[in-house]
Symmetry: C2
Subunit: 116 residues, 2 copies
DNA sequence: CCAACATATGAATATATGTTCATATATCGA
DNA sequence: TCGATATATGAACATATATTCATATGTTGG
C-alpha cells in the first residue's frame, strides 16, 4: 500500500504551520458542497436576495424535491438560512463568506478559461 | 418531474446579471476538485512550495499511485503545474487564485466551526 | 376539522469518484 | 543496454451522491 522510501532528495518544506488535518478535512467537505452545479446555481441565485423553494425550482427548471434535498445540504453546511413565512420558506445566504468563496472561484474560472 | 405552478408570490429577483449557466457549471467543476481531502491536503502542502510526488505521498501517508491520480486531476484543472528535473517531478501551485480560494474557504470554516 | 398548498424526507436507482493493483513510461547511472 | 528509480495510467471495485417517486409534515383558509 505504501511503497515509499526515506532519505529522499527534496527534504525542504516541513514547517507544520499548515492547518491541521482535521481542518483540512472540514475544508474539503465545505468545497464538496460547492462542487455541484445545482447547489452552485442555488447559491448564485441567492446572491441576489432571498428566494422561496418553488421559485428556486422554477428558476433551475428542476423538481421541488431535488431542490429541497439540495437546500438541506446547503443548510446543514451553514451556507443558507431558511425563513418561514406562512407556508412558504424563503432561503438566503447565511453569511458573506459564501459570496467571497463564489467570487474567488469565479475569478479563477474567468482568468483560466480564457473567457475575456 | 416538474410540479411547479406559475404566478407565485415572490416575484422579485430576476435580473439576469448572474453568470450564465455554463460558467456556473465550470465553477461547480472547479469546486469539485477542491472537494476531496486528499487533493486539499496536496494543495495545502504545495502552498509552502513545490514538492515531488514521493514526498507528497510520504507526507499524506498514501500510495504513490493514489497521489499521482489526484495530481493528474489537479493538473487538468489547472491548479498545479509539474516541473521535471531528472526522474523527479516537482509540483507547485499554478497561480495565486488557488491560495485565495483555499483561504476563502478556510475563513468560513474558522468562523463557522466555532474554532477560536 | 378538512382540503389545498408549500416544503421536507425516506427509499431506490443510476452514476460518479477515489483507491488499489498491476503495469507502462521515462530518466539516470554503470 | 540493463537495472534501478520516479512517475503515470488503465482496469476493477467499493463507496458516495444526485435525482426521482411517493409520501409525510406543516400551514392557511373555509
Amino acid at each position: 500500500m505504501n511503497n515509499i522510501k526515506k532519505g529522499h532528495i527534496c527534504d525542504a518544506i516541513n514547517q507544520s504551520d499548515e492547518p491541521d488535518i482535521e481542518v483540512l478535512y472540514d475544508l474539503s467537505e465545505l468545497f464538496k458542497v460547492f462542487g455541484d452545479s445545482t447547489r452552485i446555481r442555488i447559491l448564485t441565485a441567492l446572491t441576489a436576495g432571498e428566494m422561496c423553494v418553488l421559485h428556486l425550482a422554477e428558476h433551475l427548471e428542476m423538481g421541488q424535491s431535488a431542490v429541497s434535498h439540495q437546500l438541506r445540504i446547503l443548510r446543514t453546511a451553514g451556507l443558507v438560512r431558511p425563513r418561514r413565512e406562512g407556508k412558504t420558506v424563503y432561503y438566503s445566504l447565511d453569511d458573506d463568506h459564501v459570496k467571497e468563496i463564489l467570487e474567488a472561484g469565479l475569478e479563477h474560472i474567468l482568468h483560466k478559461g480564457g473567457r475575456f
